[in-house]
Symmetry: C2
Subunit: 586 residues, 2 copies
């Protein structure tokens, strides 16, 4: 051992004790004949003192230390005269009598401080230095503690962690697979799993009863800020259960994590909101319910008064922003611009202020009497000082999604989206299918193995689009942290599902034959869910992106700029794989 | 919930209680007017009784149940008249008054029993049925418990589990990589990690101090019985430590696992055997020390007596098999054939029996006087009734490896390799390099980042082949369960190492530049090790192969016969990846 103590553990009670510490030089300060070195390791910072009067040569050596040098010091713990209340070790310092440079360091390309001067690109290229910074390191510590607690909880509930293979078969349904050429089977490819969905269902067929796995999954999608080509799932499945059992058990896990990780005790059950309500009141299947501002439909109130935009609309909906009547014209214009951005796509926004005397002043006053506007006010439950914002459109779902964006932006502006406040709910009763304009057919909203609600099964033949599923998402602060469903365990029902999804029996057999075969040998009723670990950690860490809770993330082109991967292969490797590059014509 | 109890939990104290059980039909026995059904789930088996006199229709339904049907029953717990002491639930049965078939089953292609009639191939194709068998399921339960305990132990020692990426860069050094074409970076490939070696070293540079990960690794090698293209490592690394610190901490982990998993308390420290001794006394760097039979070198005793085989040998070594003098000529011939097999390659074997009166009778009596044979007996420490077996050859290391095989075979024949007895040791002081005939150069025995022993560093210039490394393997019962080393943290020493290994500075920079760069910014002294989880589990499970402690293993052609992977890709997928198949000419 190069140390007797870490840089985070010495306290006043240790005064007088001999100690050996090792770590990185955070800072060197020369003050008169004394040199102060802040020595840092994962556990904290300890101040080391070198004194010219005690040992001039040693003090000289200390002065020459550079930032991020790795050193070992020996000395005696002493009480500080000027204590630092911001540091757990701030009551003491170590009077050094020995100094060994274990490794020097070049000057790092950015400062290793909580607030660094390094831009995103350089920090990613030198990620190993970025990880030395407290805020980044703490995210990885948090991630470790979360996975430990997830495992403890699930183990205590009888779940077995079972590893499923990484080299599996390609399934063209769903997102794009990453594939792996097989040298031993030339011309053939493995795929990396998008999720262990079918394998965990096979584990239920095999009687494993309760399975989980914290596992890497892969999707070759065009990347957005919050997506990585490889990501980590907490993947779970149970047998002989119904939807309520799954929800209760995993709600218990969420509460366990809130308590152990964030110190928040949640006693009341999570709200269970039907998908239809989530869309109606929040325009989203993952509503942020830290704040109200629920949608109010205004077709009855606002239609048919000569304002053609509303008169021609299929949907008119409003939100009431409490106390925001003071918004200036400029602020309101900015909001209008916000909803008009192509990503949101609204045509315009109508607003109405409730004045101190209760009268309503709107941006469309010339079309509406004060009487109608008072009806609006009543419908919106608005009080003096409130601001009503209204969107309309010819497609109800699209307009709701636009109104959702407006609501979230208003929540942000009004400070209603506190990162340290958490609002959890289950969204339930998802539609079984959604129409794909691109594919011109019904697609499974979750996946083709989702069980329809028993009472809706007759509608599979008559009105499949109206069928609801035994599917559920766990949503925290507007983030879908996890989701799952009860699965079909009956091969006839599964066959019917594939038929509705447009699979020929041959194609279904080709892609999912192994699963359908397995179901012939006694599949138990089962279901489960999967959490996105990266998202959940970043939520608990208060991060906007999942990147900083991943040790070595990839950039938006799917590159690891530190490793410089991917890269070209040797021709020899290509030959062994019996592959050739075939660049697309420009 | 489809059940109030599992099939493994009801006891005599529950008699009289109402219960609902769900599970698989293991067996149906009709005896007069009664039908007995053994209902099975992961937790056990419970006997269900249907009585014609109580409910004839129900009894009829029970009689018609097939093997592996999934059923739910309700009934009352009752004391059995004929108890079954072999079953934890054997004191009770459940008198059924309701039966629901949740899912029927086709007749499975092999019996779901501890000893099945299914061959290897069919069990792999229907692995989900094979996993229903107790011995296979128990291996996965064991694996779960082992990984839980590994995590508990390492967490308690301050280790952080940190996920490293699966899509990394290809490193042509070492085994062959599996590669993953990148669609977003056409013509470029990721590699799947052979181990997170360099990434965990970067985590030490980043100050993570103590890292571990239970992680999938990939090697595209030609497969043997005990190899899988994907396998799981317990990967660990620590900073500011020396070899002794690593050994002590991980010896502690091994003892923790022995105690928690196998109920074996090991109090004495593990033996630490220099590699040179392991080769000298056991002919192996992973000696099985459950039994003695150490090699004795016999050059002084047996050379120069006119037996040309020995006279021309560079090495003559023997083992003493206690009590085996009774071996017949036939048994001895079989042993000779054994060591002559091409996999072992010895030219022949000499034996000598110690008779009851102390005289020695050997297969080469005509060359040796009884006096010399008594010297042999003394050198071998052989007593009346013992059998001495001797091999010789012109290559010391090769002959030792042959003698090792003979020793292991004798240990097996004499019942000295009890699966329930465990002998652990560390093999230390490995050579830094080994000569590769194929490459005609020195290769790193562990990997190029291994630290040479401080006292041997001067020999890097003069006699590199003699340099020993700070490397260590943990060996249990002749199986290398793990191994590691102290790493080089000094970039100059690392550069010298690459030079000895025949890397040009350009090639070293191309392949490991990111690591060598990182080391310029303050790398701490560090080291670690990695365990092969599959092997360790199979050792604890008493298995010969690692296959049965893996849920969905691949066969010797690297195929998953259940999923039928790998398989051909759609042309569309190849086009998106800008790849073409290039079958090698026959």
């Amino acid at each position: 051992m190069f140390r007797t103590n870490t840089c985070g553990e010495l306290r006043l009670a240790d005064a007088g004790r001999r100690t050996t510490l090792a770590g990185w030089v955070q800072r060197v300060r020369k003050m008169g004949g004394m040199t102060f070195v802040d020595l840092r390791d994962r556990y904290g910072i300890t101040q080391i003192v070198f004194d010219n009067e005690h040992d001039a040569a040693l003090n000289d050596a200390a002065v020459r230390l550079g930032r991020e040098f790795v050193v070992q010091i020996q000395g005696t713990v002493a009480e500080r005269t000027a204590k630092n209340a911001n540091l757990p070790t701030g009551d003491i310092e170590v009077l050094a009598d020995s100094l060994t440079v274990l490794n020097p360091s070049e000057v790092p390309p950015f400062t290793i401080e909580d607030e660094t001067d390094g831009g995103d690109d350089i920090r990613m290229r030198y990620r190993y230095l970025d990880l030395r910074r407290n805020p980044v390191r703490r995210n990885l510590e948090l991630r470790h503690r979360m996975t430990m607690e997830v495992r403890r909880y699930l183990d205590s509930k009888g779940f077995l962690e079972i590893e499923t293979p990484m080299l599996v078969g390609s399934t063209p349904e769903g997102a794009r697979d990453f594939v792996v050429p097989s040298r031993m089977n030339p011309g053939q490819f493995y795929a990396l799993p998008q999720s262990p969905q079918t394998l965990k269902q096979l584990l239920m067929v095999s009687g494993m009863d309760r399975y989980f796995q914290i596992v890497k999954c892969f999707r070759d999608e065009d990347l957005r800020a919050d997506r990585q080509p490889e990501f980590t799932q907490i993947d779970c499945e149970m047998s002989f259960i119904d939807q309520n059992d799954v929800i209760e058990l995993f709600e218990g896990m969420a509460k366990h994590l809130f308590k152990e990780i964030r110190g928040i005790e949640i006693n009341e059950p999570f709200l269970r909101m039907p998908w239809a309500d989530a869309m109606k009141y929040y325009g989203s299947d993952k509503p942020d319910i830290r704040f109200g501002m629920r949608f109010v439909e205004l077709m009855d109130t606002m239609k048919g008064h000569g304002f053609s935009v509303f008169d021609n609309a299929a949907y008119i909906g409003g939100i009431c922003a409490k106390g925001a009547a003071s918004y200036t014209r400029k602020q309101l214009d900015a909001l209008t611009d916000y909803v008009r951005r192509p990503q949101i796509g609204a045509k315009g926004m109508v607003y109405a202020r409730v004045e101190a005397d209760g009268t309503v002043k709107s941006s469309v006053d010339k079309f509406y009497t004060q009487e109608t506007l008072q009806e609006l006010r009543k419908a919106m439950d608005a009080e003096p000082g409130d601001l009503i914002l209204i969107l309309s459109g010819d497609d109800t779902m699209k307009t709701r999604k636009q109104l959702c964006e407006l609501r979230l932006e208003m929540g942000r502006q009004l400070g209603l989206r506190d990162r340290n406040k958490f609002a959890c709910l289950w969204v339930v009763d998802f539609p079984m299918f959604e129409w794909s304009d691109e594919e011109q057919r019904l697609m499974a909203m979750h996946h083709p193995f989702t069980h329809p609600k028993d009472e809706d099964i007759p509608m599979l033949d008559t009105d499949p689009a109206a069928v609801r599923a035994d599917a559920y998402d766990m949503v925290i602060n507007g983030v879908e942290v996890g989701g799952g469903s009860i699965r079909i365990h009956d091969s006839e029902l599964q066959a019917k599902m594939f038929e509705i999804l447009g699979f020929t029996p041959e194609k279904a057999a080709e892609q999912f034959g192994f699963l359908m075969n397995a179901f012939k040998f006694g599949a138990p009723p089962h279901g489960g869910l999967a959490y996105g670990l990266d998202r959940w950690v970043s939520l608990f860490a208060g991060l906007d992106s999942i990147r900083d809770c991943i040790a070595f993330p990839k950039n938006n082109s799917g590159r690891d700029v530190m490793l410089d991967a991917p890269s070209a292969l040797d021709q020899k490797q290509l030959d062994e794989l019996q592959l050739a590059l075939a660049p697309a014509e420009e």
